[in-house]
Symmetry: C2
Amino acid sequence: MSTQHINQLDHCPRPLRADAERNRTKILDAAARVFAERGLDATLDEVAAAAGVGVGTVYRRFADKETLIGALFDNGVDEIAELASRAHEMSNSWEGLVWFLEQALERQCANRGLREVVAESSYAEVRLDDAKRRIVPALGRLVERAQCDGYVRDDVVTTDFAIFEMMISSLGNKTSSVAPELWRRYLRIILDGIVVARQRPSVLDTVPDDAIMGEVLRSAHRLARRAH
Amino acid sequence: MSTQHINQLDHCPRPLRADAERNRTKILDAAARVFAERGLDATLDEVAAAAGVGVGTVYRRFADKETLIGALFDNGVDEIAELASRAHEMSNSWEGLVWFLEQALERQCANRGLREVVAESSYAEVRLDDAKRRIVPALGRLVERAQCDGYVRDDVVTTDFAIFEMMISSLGNKTSSVAPELWRRYLRIILDGIVVARQRPSVLDTVPDDAIMGEVLRSAHRLARRAH
DNA sequence: AAATAAACGGAATGAATATCTCCACATAAC
DNA sequence: GTTATGTGGAGATATTCATTCCGTTTATTT
């Protein structure tokens, strides 16, 4: 209503009370942990509990769940877009491409929330959507360069890589609690599938032993079951 | 209670009334369609509507959702286990392995319900579980044979193939409405990644044009969003 | 053409599960 | 000590399903 009020919103809102600021941080930290582990379907009640505050406190600081998610993953998505640019500056195009995939997947496999924000579009916020739109074209430039240089076979296409990321990161999320680095194995195999020619396969990380691999399959199952 | 009653259950239950039998078939058909398209989360109300009957009718014929799903996918899972055996009888071990993967994926990519029954364990019924337990060992024999014959690199492992199936079929489900055969492309690429040596990549199906590939990414998103 | 047992439809029930609001009470700031 | 701010968490509200119930309809039998 008042001019003063407008100024507060637009310019220099009165700083939060000390305890409120402290709580805001606790909430963001907790939300980061909870969404990373459980994905965006996690309840704000869970977040509040993890932060050691009441739900009401969460809602006073963030208008709703979507806003919180926006505040939380804004950086993350942006960073991925950024990585693609940085990869483009690396001198070897193949190494650049692989480096980008590894960096992006490292983040998305360890963070289910981030993956869901990037790969699925639940809770698409404007700023997030904006950052996301930069990823595919940047990836495209990486791929094309690696093809021109004769590293990547010509019959693959930018979208293929987006799909590799979807496939691998969704697996990564499912197995991250049991074998957090397993996704690298499947990235390696897929990369071996898209290089122009190879005499020998590249070296895979050693397989986790059978007990763990069994657990991997089972953990994928269990995660799906949690939906109900 | 009565002997007569027990006999009805165990031996030759009085046949259903003609209309009831007709409806039972309509329900099974509809359920097959609905679960194939929408997955096991589809409501029995949806199934009933698709069958053109009331929910009550569904429940008179099938004790509950799980029973219906069991009746519906029993064959499907069994058939996949069967395919693995048949593949083992093919003379060329590589062709056998590829043939099995293609056959199994063909079924699972076109049928989201079947995929969920095999890959996830929601609604695990006893008989289904039983059939499922046969798949991995059978697959294992296929893989080992192809490795002995020098087709498949030695550093991959049976579980890897189970994971390939998970990755590809989940993608296949997501894209089946837009590009129903696209999964073959990624199977090809992964296979190129796990052969012992290759000079040239194998031939990929032509990529759907950009418009469709864009739609593919978007459809993956949209499907995820439906969860909320 | 009754009479009867079987089957039907679909509104209603009840159990989860979520998001978001409200307000009596607490506490930082001055 | 006063006051503007902030807090907790019970509950209002909504949604979504599986499953049940019962008044009505229909096939079958006689």
